[in-house]
Structure formats: C-alpha cells, structure tokens
C-alpha cells in the first residue's frame, strides 16, 4: 500500500511539473547567456576547424543530444530556442563551446560537460554550419573570432 501511495504521488508530481516544464523560456533570456561568456573562452579557436569529419560527427551528436529541444535543423524545438539566429551564428566558436559546456541552467538548458571536449567542439562545428548561408550574405558580427 505504501509503495502504491509513493508511486501515485510521484506520478502526479511528474505530470504536473512536466506541463509547467514544457513552457519555453523567453528567447531573449536564453541568448543573454552569450553576454556572460568570459573573454578568454570567447577567444578560443575551434581545434577541429580543419577536420573534415567534425561537422559529420557533430551532426550525429546533435541529433542524439540536441535535436529534441532545438529541432532537427536548429529551427527551434518544443523547449529550445532557434539556433539559426544571428546571436548564435555570429558568435565565436569559443563562445558557443562555452555555452554548450555550461548550459543555461536557470533558463532550462543543462550543462553538457558530460560530453568530452572534442565532442562539444564537433557539435559547435555542426551548429555553426547551419548559418553558413546566413553569414555569407550578412556582415560579420562583432562577436566573431578573427580567422573564422
């Protein structure tokens, strides 16, 4: 009997909190995380920039870990914001890597340091490939690292 009570209480809790959870945070609050990136992290270059397999591996990792929230092609998902916006696509690789690593815990994005560093760089490479068409037509953003 006591286990049935515990199971019912837990189920009610999960169902009630999951509907509250599903509400997406304002995107301005989420992108604001980029303002908190330390300068040294922002300036880090992507060590896998010249690796032709990085974007392919990044795509595999993105589909496995990120697409549930951000959408299959970064267009925005049920919980996560769009990754196609200038705030993301003009960010330096180091800034994007830092946000992936640290998440945005108060806004609902978990930390992803559980993925080894090379995998986070692979995801960074793939996410920034979303915006190649965008950056080809737009002027470079102020956040973009030299040489990228």
């Amino acid at each position: 009997m006591r286990f049935a009570v515990a199971a019912v209480a837990f189920t009610v809790f999960v169902l009630s909190s999951s509907s509250a959870m599903a509400r997406k945070k304002p995107e301005s609050q989420i992108y604001a995380q980029f303002a908190h990136v330390p300068d040294d992290a922002r300036a880090r270059a992507n060590p896998l920039e010249a690796d032709p397999d990085a974007a392919l591996a990044g795509r595999k990792l993105y589909e496995r870990h990120c697409a549930q929230c951000h959408g299959a092609t970064g267009e925005s998902g049920r919980k996560g914001p769009s990754l196609l916006v200038p705030e993301i696509q003009t960010a330096s690789p180091g800034a994007l890597f830092w946000v992936i690593t640290n998440g945005n815990v108060r806004a609902g994005m978990p930390v992803w340091s559980k993925l080894p560093e090379p995998q986070r760089w692979q995801i960074t490479t793939y996410v920034q490939s979303f915006g190649e068409a965008h950056t080809a037509t737009a002027p470079p953003g102020p956040d973009r690292a030299p040489g990228r």
Partner: protein, 280 residues
Amino acid sequence: MGRIFLAGLAILFVASTASAQERPYFVTYDHYLEEPGALELAFNPLFGSVSGGNDFVAGSIEVEYGASAWWTTELYLDGQHTENESTVFTGFRWENRFRPAEREHAINPILYVEYEDVNGADKVMAAVVGHDVASDFEEPNSETVQEIERELELKLILSSAVKGWNISENLIAVKNLAGEPWEFGYAFGVSRPLALAASPERCSFCRENFVAGLELYGGLGDTEQFGLADTSQYLAPLIAWNLPSAVTLKLSPGWGLNQDSLPFVLRFGFSIEFSNLGSR
C-alpha cells in the same frame, strides 16, 4: 492502479526516446542531472555472494525525471530474492538531487536528499554506510522484513570533468528517523569514454559509446564509532555502453576488500530514456 498504468503507457507513447548518456556508476553519483523533461526507466539487478548464508539477487526499478536543469527526482522500488528463502518487496526510496551552481567549475557540487521507507531485508546496496557488514545478509528474510527502516539520506556530491575523465566523490550521511545515530559512508568513482571524439559514422559499437571506470565505496562508521572498523569496503571496475537507441547497459563486478564485506557482488544495469515528456 490499472488506470494509472495505462496513463503511464500513454505518456511514454507520446514521448520520444532521448540521448543515452547515463552515469556509468552504480553507487557513485556525478554532477550531471537528467535533462529537463526527460524520463528514464531503469532496472538494476545485483547478485550477491554470501559466504555464511544464502546468495541473493536484489533489484530496484528506477524512475528518474528531470524536473528542471537544476533538479532531478527519482523513485525506486526495491525487492530481492534470497536462495532457499523467499522473494520480497523491500520498500521504496524517493531521491532528489539539486545543482546549486549555475556554471561548470573545477569541482561541481550537487546536494542530494533521499527519504527511504524500506525494511531490513533490503539488499540493493545503493549505498554502503555505517557498520553495514556481510553478516547482515545472513539473517533470514522472515526476520528482516519485520524491521522497518525509515531513513533520511544526505549526500554531498563533488564531481569534476578533467581531460575526458570524470572524477566523483560522494560523502554520505544517513539518519534513521527512529532515533538511531547518524551513519556515514563514501563513494569514489573515476571513468572515461574509450574515445573522446565521436566518429562520423552512425554506429553502436564505436569506442565513444563505451565508458570504463572504477568505483570504490564503503562505510565510515557512525557518530558513536567513526572510522573503518567493522565496516565493509568494495572495489568495482565497471563498463557502460550507451546505445544510440537511448538504451544504456552497464556491468560491474565488485569485490569486498575486507572480511566484513561480501566476497563478490555483480551488478547489471539497463535503462532507457524518454524525452519531452509533457511537451506539446
């Protein structure tokens, strides 16, 4: 109960499977919480060899839910079967983990609070504390099921990510609410994926899907007799396999390090994760 079961099935049907990247440990906790909105179902059976008594198989069914990016909650239902004795349900545990830090640090703290309502026959060994010793497992189920243990378990989880390695330390304090003294224990774990970078191919057997590690855990006595005397200690290598289908399989043989420990413990883990529970 039938309606609740059907409702649960319906929820899982609309949810999709998520990334499998579960902690490789069985006893030690690292600082990674469940992703928000993700529900993990897990079954963790354990075989224990008892030199002066009957061998047993214990297991817990685990339901883990990411309530937010800083809070994960879990419900465990425990049971066991002891050879030549009986099969018994041993109780439930409700666990919550909270992440106080907004960002990653060299050492990341997690606060852990668990309430457990189990009986004395519980053999899941989710944590080893106080003066838990091998002779406890020799007592027959018919007697131990009569002992009700309502306990509050607190842990300070410290965990670091260093060059692909995870290094985790857990300090454990348990208070039996019937007024017994505080009991203490610890768990320490290190682990690393077999490859740090992902391969571009989609594969189940890629090295990056496997994590190898080692756990060391045991009791530290209680407020009346703190230390290693009359405690059990275990060393357990482990391997975890994170499949692309959101399933994780884990295996860990463990050995007792002193005469008060069980000589051998074999743990197995199966889990599957569902994402976007409750999302529209």
